[in-house]
Amino acid sequence: MPELPGKKVGIVACSGEELPEGTVTRLAALKVLEELRPGETVTICLPLFLAGGEGDRTFARFYPTIALDGCELRCAARGTEMYSGKPAASVVVRDLIQQAGLPQPGGRRRLDEAGRRAVEATARETARLVDDLLGRPWSRLTGAPVQLAGGEAESHESIQAACSCGSGIPIQRVLVDEQEVTLMALPLIFENLRQQGKMPGPEVAGELLATVGIYNPIPAGREAAYEQALLREYAAFCQGRELAQ
């Protein structure tokens, strides 16, 4: 049965080559991904937001992201917001160094001791932010925490940290009240339901809408329209599968 993507935090580093702080962001991101929070984080190359396809651009809409920037230009934070979605949190290495009273890092290609200390500090702060984001609900629309009904946080499962290059997240365009919307993970959700033997009909409508709502914002007051559209698309999906067999 296809597994739906688990809730994880995306980390986008500027990796700027012109400054030691750019190298700090890169190494700090990798430290979080590989050592500190390997099962709870994923990454994407910043330019993929532009050069990649729509699947890559859905990245930050799907995962709450932490932007790691070396300097005040904040390329990672601004680039992520421009082309994908607003970061849920942001770290600027220069600010962090100043606040922590750390020495200035040196060496763009090979960091000096001060640079390595900056990597440690940036990675620790990023890991703290990851924990923070996974411990509370997060809005993909505003990049801000939200409270779910009942006060429950969204659950997440640990999956090995991975690069999103070339994989992207499956999406599907759907007409809702004659307005086209892009829904993330929809093909996987359909396949998952179908393999559970749940056929299109009113009895699956609630579950379908709820599952889609985990990965996509459903505008308030439009639940019925979404439900209708999802049932229609799910019926078409199942019909297509039957014809293919």
Partner: protein
Amino acid sequence: MSERRRKVVVVPCSGIGKTYGTVTREAAFELTEHLRPETTRLVPLSLLVLGDEASRAAVAQNPTVTIDGCKLACATKMVTENGGAVLQDYDILDVYRRYKQFKPQGIAELNEGGMKLAEALASEIASLIDDRGLDREGGGQHA
């Protein structure tokens, strides 16, 4: 009469998800800091993503060499989208096929094979610059 010199711009993808991205970054550093520091300069892809004016001008006004770490070719696409003309684009996987004795591993820190692959690529680019006179006004032709 002495020829006017110009800087050749190098744009690596610096991809963070795979070893080959680090190789592109290391090759760019090797070229711009060690082999040809006087006639090359590195432009960070992150600045091009935001359309930074100085970076856009650099790729638009100078011969540009891109180094991509995967088939998505982010560096080449970004330079092109920002008004630059790519004189030569390198796909690191193609480079690796020419130097299969150098097997790269590691992302945060490359192994010896990765370092040697980066050095080999940097040397290739240096030779290209020399052979085609890319660092001289009027030198080189668009690929």
